[in-house]
């Protein structure tokens, strides 16, 4: 990410929060971004600067190698690290077909790799 360029646009990330036992709740975070920044960039920024309790699984950080940051973005399944941000509201949700753990984290582990 460039540190000398200034942000041009703002994404309003509407994020589904909470665990399986809690009523559905969304929280919106505004993230000013540069062209080319990804949804994962925004989520990591939120964890570091706004709310460290946001649960989101990632490992390789935008190398498109670990495939851990899979989630629902604007109603479609995708990787946060390869999905570019856009100006305006973006709906960020956990995978609907996996057991919800909390926030954006679902049980995506192979069954024989769980504790």
């Amino acid at each position: 990410m460039s540190e000398t360029q200034s942000a041009k646009n703002t994404a309003n990330l509407k994020i589904r929060r909470g665990g399986p036992e809690q009523p559905e709740r969304h929280e919106t975070f505004d993230f000013p971004f540069e062209d080319g920044q990804s949804v994962l960039d925004a989520l990591r920024w939120i964890r570091g600067n706004k709310d460290a309790s946001l649960a989101v699984r990632y490992s390789c950080i935008s190398a498109n190698a670990c495939k851990e940051c899979v989630m629902r973005i604007d109603g479609r399944t995708g990787y946060a690290c390869t999905t570019p941000l856009r100006a305006g509201e973006m709906l960020i949700e956990p995978l609907p077909n996996k057991r919800l753990i909390r926030d954006l984290v679902t049980d995506t582990l192979p069954p024989d790799e769980r504790l």
Binding site: M1, S2, E3, T4, Q5, G19, E34, D35, G36, Q37, S38, R47, G48, N49, A52, S53, A55, V56, R57, Y58, S59, C60, I61, S62, A63, N64, A65, C66, K67, E68, Y79, C81, T82, P84, I101, R102, D103, V105, D107, L109, P110, D112, E113, R114, L115
Partner: protein, 567 residues
């Protein structure tokens, strides 16, 4: 306190970290008949450094041209600037060909040259005296390695894989490693694992720097685990910066070190902000091939930027504009299309690069069986210190993941054979308490997640590729202040998948490791390989020894160790 002591597991061999070295270790330990627990703080076989690697693996298999492991060893020792642990490097180079062929048998699919008689292709990389580096096209070496090892690991019923489990401490009884305690991130529960032998395969520490090529979990965990368990660390001041990490334009979904294979195959030109070649002013001219070694290139780029001749984003230009389009296409096929999608046409534009933290030469001090000074505690892969001295030769990182992984797995299985299963219910208790206490700390205040960002900036600035006594002293003081704050930092309380609590344990490790790097770097008053002191330029022969660090209740102890040489 009536605490939750969580699950209690038992195994012959416990492997901490499931990247290349950890998976290779699990396979060889299982093959030797041991029961294995292979765990990862992220997902088994998907985290760590191996899967990130897009480029090459050095091994003297002599497919491209005649070669011998002794030539590979000579190049490794030369690159290491007088500090290579030669017996370890010999193991690395001598055993490498067997691992490459084993991976071939397991179906990795090394790139082949059909025209030249259907042999495995070996590319040239800087510092090698001949074409020695195998790879999987296109930029798939790491993912293919991980996939191949994952498939092998799954074949063994005696390997239990566990993901999302963060080891927080190794349990030691009478100078012997007897297992570990861990935090299960999903539930927040502590877990105890009794083990006859333990292998640290957690990789390096590059995500401690804010410009890095690492995955999120390369925070130096294994070095801190070892240090707290009483193990010695070696060469901690030698952090390798990768000279041409991607800087601009922004790339999504690609590894920031992806330009290296382009350089191997096509050369390319490094240019300053005035679009002029400049590395010749720092010792080595570009000559159309990739010959400038990593420490030299890092130095040249940082100095050129400091002199005000950087590219617009504060780096150097890397240009392939002089390479004909068909040649680019032939060398990189689908990668050219992936770049086109993000608006990068290499025939029409240069990209910007800058040095990023890439690899750690230092690590756990081991003997030729990869055992640390703590009995039954082994190290494998990048976590091992010494084999690469002050500067790692290109292509040796995955090689050591394979070779040291295989060897440590075998050694740990052997060590486990003569022992009864330790009962660590009592000895694990104090370590379990650290987990329950940390997990209970709610409230406000600076949180560990943002403190990690702060530490990354600090290390980049003052313990980065170029160091001064003043900057290092500043770093040591700042690290000590953060260590004092650590026990009071809130961790978010009892919530599922509490990454903030995970970050607290990550920060705890990072601070312990940062202190060792800064302390060793401050002590070494010379410049050598990846350790460059602006106030002590030039290599000083009097410093031709390794610095060894251990910790006890009084803090760190740093001493000098003879560099082990082959007789």
């Amino acid at each position: 306190m009536d605490q939750n002591v969580g699950q209690y597991l038992e195994t012959d061999v416990l492997i901490i970290g499931a990247g290349g070295a950890g998976m290779y270790g699990a396979i060889s330990a299982a093959k030797a008949g041991a029961n294995v627990i292979l765990l990862d703080k992220s997902i088994v076989g998907r985290s760590g450094a191996t899967i990130m690697a897009q480029m090459t693996v050095a091994a003297a298999i002599g497919e491209e041209e005649p070669d011998d492991w002794r030539f590979h060893l000579k190049d490794t020792i030369t690159a290491g600037r007088g500090l290579v642990d030669e017996p370890l490097a010999q193991i690395l180079c001598e055993m490498a060909p067997a691992r490459i062929w084993e991976m071939e048998d397991w179906g990795i699919g090394w790139a082949r040259s059909v025209a030249g008689g259907n042999h495995i292709t070996q590319a040239h990389a800087p510092g090698h005296d001949r074409n020695r580096c195998v790879y999987v096209d296109f930029l798939s070496t790491g993912p293919a390695s991980s996939r191949t090892l994952r498939n092998q690991v799954r074949k063994y019923d005696n390997i239990r894989r566990i993901s999302d489990l963060t080891v927080t401490d190794i349990v030691v009884e009478d100078g012997k490693a007897v297992g570990a305690v861990a935090l299960h991130l999903e539930s927040g529960e502590p877990v105890t694992i009794a083990a006859k032998a333990t292998i640290i395969a957690t990789g390096g520490l590059t995500s401690m720097y804010n410009r890095n090529s690492a995955s999120a979990n390369m925070g130096g965990d294994g070095f801190a685990l070892g240090l707290r368990a009483g193990a010695e660390l070696i060469d901690m001041e030698f952090v390798q910066f990768f000279p041409i990490g991607h800087l601009a334009p922004r790339l999504i979904g690609m590894d920031p070190i992806m330009w290296d294979p382009f350089r191997y195959k096509l050369g390319g030109r490094l240019l300053n902000g005035d679009m002029e070649e400049f590395t010749q002013n720092y010792g080595t001219a570009e000559d159309g091939k990739y010959v400038v070694t990593r420490d030299m290139a890092t130095y040249a780029i940082v100095k050129e930027v400091e002199a005000g001749r950087g590219s617009p984003h504060g780096g150097a230009w890397l240009s392939f504009e002089h390479i004909p389009k068909p040649d680019l296409r032939a060398a990189f096929g689908p990668v050219i299309d992936r770049l086109a999608k993000v608006g990068i046409d290499l025939t029409k534009m240069a990209i910007e690069v800058y040095p990023i933290a890439h690899y750690h030469m230092g690590g756990l001090r081991v003997n030729d069986s990869l055992t640390t000074n703590v009995s039954n505690l082994f190290a494998a892969g990048e976590a091992v210190g010494g084999a690469n001295g002050a500067n790692r030769l290109s292509g040796n990182a995955i090689t050591e993941a394979f070779v040291f992984g295989e060897l440590a797995g075998r050694g740990a299985a052997e060590a486990a054979k003569g022992q009864t299963m330790p009962d660590i219910h009592d000895s694990a208790r104090p370590y379990l308490e650290i987990i329950t206490n940390a997990g209970a700390r709610t409230g406000d205040g600076p949180n560990p997640t943002s403190a990690i960002t702060e530490l990354q900036k600090l290390l980049q600035q003052d313990v980065g590729p170029f160091r001064t006594g003043e900057g290092l002293q500043r770093a040591v003081a700042a690290i000590s202040e953060m260590q004092a704050e650590l026990p009071h930092m809130p961790t978010g309380g009892a919530i599922a998948f509490n990454q903030q609590l995970g970050d607290w344990f990550g920060l705890r490790n990072m601070l312990a490791v940062a202190e060792t790097i800064a302390t060793a770097a401050l002590a070494r008053t010379e410049s050598r390989g990846a350790h460059q002191r602006e106030d002590f330029p030039g290599l000083d022969e009097a410093w031709s020894y390794n610095q060894v660090i251990r910790a006890d209740g009084d803090g760190l102890h740093i001493s000098r160790g003879e560099v082990r040489q082959l007789s």
